[in-house]
């Protein structure tokens, strides 16, 4: 069984809002009304719907116009064999979303549980607070195989975000808690306004000016996190020492940026 399969009938002429299209949806999925530009359309008009519901939903070929893929997902798995648009996994509370291409802005926005894996790049404000919200992602795990746009982890409240590539300007801006790791290069002003939480970075050079060097330490915490998070174990690679930068001190923040020792 491959579960439900959505295959685009052709090129999209407007942005497609796939919120509500979940593996757990009951009834005839093809009849489900979705947003299509400024109008509404039945899912079946835009996609060929096949297969049977078994907790798994596959979107063949994907597309950068597919917004809110897996928004509100609480269980099951969604696999997209291509790109997705904005707000993939918005307010997801459980389950898994796998995007084999890239994703747009606000990926994992306000995620509270589950996991999102994007093989390619993501746009701006990964895991950030959405429109009108004060807090970003609060739990769960996000792994980005490529690079992230500006302000990844802005107002992050919890969970683990791992960016295997680069992060553009303002990563971790106003972070409240949680863990944001950037394995590649870091854009300017990282951690600006950070209150609490942990940034894992490879260099202190692009940290906001309010970060101060607290020295290198052997942190037991790294050993624990490596055993409780497969993703962080991958990042740490057995390293237990890190140089700690505290910040953002200009705002009285008690966050930290850790640079793993070689």
């Amino acid at each position: 069984m491959t579960g439900l399969v959505l295959t685009p009938r052709g090129a999209f002429e407007a942005r497609v809002d796939l919120s509500g299209v979940l593996p757990s949806v009951e009834g005839d999925l093809a009849k489900l009304k979705i947003g299509y530009g400024a109008a509404r359309a039945e899912l079946g008009e835009l996609f060929d719907v096949s297969g049977a519901a078994d907790g798994r939903l596959t979107i063949e070929s994907g597309g950068a116009q597919l917004d809110r893929v897996g928004a509100g997902l609480s269980s099951g798995e969604i696999v997209v064999k291509g790109d997705v648009g904005h707000q993939v996994g918005q307010r997801q509370s459980g389950g898994v979303i796998v995007v084999k291409g890239s994703a747009g802005d606000y990926a994992a926005s306000e995620l509270s549980g589950g996991k999102i894996a994007v093989a390619g790049d993501v746009g701006a404000r990964l895991g950030a607070a959405g429109d009108g919200a004060k807090r970003g992602m609060s739990g769960g795990v996000v792994v980005i195989g490529g690079s992230a746009g500006a302000r990844a982890g802005e107002r992050l409240r919890g969970g683990v975000v791992l960016i295997e590539g680069d992060a553009a300007e303002g990563a971790g801006t106003s972070m409240i808690a949680g863990t944001l790791a950037v394995m590649g290069r870091l854009g300017r002003h990282a951690g600006r306004g950070m209150k609490r939480g942990t940034l894992f970075v490879s260099s202190p050079e692009e940290l906001a000016s309010g970060f101060a060097d607290a020295g290198e330490h052997d942190l037991v915490m790294l050993r624990v996190l490596a055993r409780r998070s497969h993703e962080l174990a991958h990042l740490f690679g057995g390293r237990t020492r890190a140089r700690r930068f505290a910040g953002d001190l200009t705002l009285g923040g008690k966050g930290e940026a850790l640079i793993l020792s070689r």
Partner: protein, 298 residues
């Protein structure tokens, strides 16, 4: 029942429900993990006088601990949940948090939670840091040596306290040697601790006393020097009695531990001075758990 010359008396240990938890204490070295564990389970022989009963369950290899360092599992039991939730953070705070390089983790899940970092984080005076990963919260409390890391809370279990065996021997030396052998065998039972010094009690008690305010007093029927002054449970050849008390996470654990002890004593046999194995009880009316020695060995 006589096994290898040792009489297994038709008696039973009378035990009580207790609420317990397991903690995993780690440190940079096995030596310091054990020091922290022994310290935090010290003065925890009898719940009547100490507020809890506790002991080292086992050494935990580094590859099995939450932080990959050498560890020790300890079990702590109290009469009820309220008692346990008071003593656990207090003992961790005074004996583990203070012990060099230590960390403290939940050793069981389920049951009503008991605070670890939830209570101890305040030592950090606002500098403490919580990390939530994989649905579990750990605390990092800055200390002069570095950071004290601990889980937010630990689970609890409805356990059994007060399992016991009495070793009746021909001399004090033989009683102690036999008790040491039994305690060593019993300590290997998963889910059990022997809370008294070295696992052995030389001063088993009976309920009550002639003195007002004393809840327990010497078990005179088993005191060899009182043989001529009242009812005695000791045959003429017995000159010394040692007791081993067992607290466990389940009835089965205590039963297994009891059997391990009796088997070790029977293996020593009458030739090593072990005359009989008995058990302490209160007539069967106080404790709901009865560990009948002959049934355990049948």
């Amino acid at each position: 029942m006589i096994l290898n010359g040792v009489e297994i008396r038709d008696s039973f240990a009378e035990a009580f429900p207790m609420v317990g938890t397991r903690l995993i204490i780690t440190a940079d070295t096995a030596k310091w993990a054990m020091i922290a564990a022994k310290t935090m389970t010290g003065f925890a022989t009898s719940v009547i006088g100490c507020g809890c009963e506790a002991g080292v369950e086992r050494e935990v290899p580094a590859e099995e601990t939450p932080d990959g360092r050498p560890g020790v599992a300890v079990l702590i039991f109290a009469m009820d949940y309220n008692g346990l939730k008071g003593v656990v953070p207090n003992r961790i705070g005074q004996c583990v948090l203070t012990s060099p390089t230590s960390a403290c983790y939940a050793g069981m899940e389920g049951g009503k939670p008991v605070s670890i970092g939830k209570a101890l984080r305040y030592f950090g005076d606002g500098w403490q840091i919580a990390k939530n990963v994989d649905g579990r919260r750990i605390w990092r409390v800055p200390v002069m040596e570095g950071e004290f890391v601990c889980d937010h809370e630990t689970g609890t279990v409805e356990g059994v306290g007060g399992g016991n065996i009495l070793i009746l021997a021909t001399s004090r030396r033989e009683a102690l040697e036999a008790a040491e052998v039994a305690a060593e065998a019993m300590a290997k039972t998963p889910g059990c601790v022997l809370p008294f010094p070295g696992g052995i009690v030389r001063s088993g008690s009976k309920v009550g006393s002639r003195y007002k305010g004393m809840f327990a007093s010497t078990n005179n029927a088993y005191c060899p020097t009182l043989r001529a002054q009242g009812p005695t449970a000791l045959p003429p050849e017995v000159a010394s009695v040692m007791e081993i008390v067992i607290d466990g996470v389940s009835e089965k654990a205590v039963s297994d531990c009891t059997r391990a002890g009796i088997e070790a004593l029977v293996k020593l046999g009458r030739d090593k001075g072990v005359v009989a194995i008995d058990a302490g009880n209160y007539g069967g009316n106080l404790g709901p758990f009865h560990f009948k020695l002959r049934e355990i060995m049948s």
